[in-house]
């Protein structure tokens, strides 16, 4: 009788251990699959491109700050980031040298020449741009490359001149978004 009680007790402990093991396993699986990091850089680059487009063109007309005496205002390239209220210093500490993790480039084309830009400017870390031209495969190493988004739009100057605008936005931040 005593022996049976002892076996039952032992079996109960065994079942609790098994239950804990299975629950722990399920928790580990869910945490590994749904846990961080999530790669949101593609969406982030799209949002950045949209914000840039918003700063350039309002209701189809290019901001008058882009022109001086009917020509492109070269000074805008220095002040555009600030005018747009972008702050690229927020990701300090990421990357090998704490480098800036953002890059954008804006190119204006006329309808006469859609290959060579009439005016262009950029800001951020130029080193990320090269990543955009690498053909990416579904591979872990490629996932660490920067995410790029190209957006094209059409807008007019206040004088009615037609311009084609190409925006390239790039987000680095692989350390934060990709499992190392």
């Amino acid at each position: 009788m005593d022996n049976k009680k002892g076996t039952d007790k032992l079996l109960s402990i065994y079942w609790f251990v098994m239950l804990t093991l299975i629950a722990g396993g399920v928790f580990a699986m869910v945490y590994v699959f749904y846990g961080p990091p999530y790669d949101v850089r593609e969406i982030e680059s799209e949002i950045l491109a949209e914000r840039i487009a918003d700063c350039i063109s309002k209701q189809g007309v290019i901001n008058s700050d882009f022109f001086v005496d009917g020509k492109f205002n070269a000074a805008i390239s220095e002040s555009f980031t600030e005018r747009c209220n972008f702050n690229f210093d927020v990701e300090k500490g990421y990357g090998d040298t704490g480098e800036i993790q953002y890059f954008y480039e804006v190119e204006f084309y006329t309808l006469k020449d859609t290959v060579n830009p009439a005016f262009s400017f950029y800001d951020g870390n130029n080193n990320w741009k090269a990543d955009c031209f690498i053909k990416k495969e579904n591979n872990k190493e490629y996932a660490k490359l920067a995410k790029c988004k190209e957006k094209r739009l059409y807008a007019l100057s206040k004088e009615g001149d037609q311009y084609l605008i190409k925006i390239l936005s790039v987000i680095g931040k692989s350390e934060k978004n990709v499992k190392q």
């Binding site: 396993g25 593609e42 059409y154």
Partner: protein
């Protein structure tokens, strides 16, 4: 003697069952690790930002409402947009 043998047999069954369970758990956790490498967020940003309308495309449409001359040329140029990822 027969009772002892029975006890040993039962114990081995439980030990084997435990090992099988642990091995299965390890396989499933490993599978989760492998699958998690390829997880990605598929979010329709158009839906998030402005309903069904593309935010940047809406700017182009606004510009067309001001001047739509050379519309074909402009549309061809815009369609050459590279979906770099």
């Amino acid at each position: 003697m027969t009772s002892k043998r029975g006890q040993i047999g039962e114990s081995i069954t439980w030990v084997v069952a435990t090992i099988v369970l642990i091995v299965l758990l390890i396989i499933f956790i490993y599978a989760s690790v492998v699958l998690s490498e390829f997880k990605s967020l598929k979010i329709n940003t158009k839906k998030i930002s402005t309903g069904s309308l593309d935010w940047i495309n809406s700017k182009t449409q606004m510009a067309y409402s001001i001047s739509s001359s050379n519309k074909n040329k402009i549309q061809v140029w815009i369609s050459q947009e590279v979906g770099n990822e």
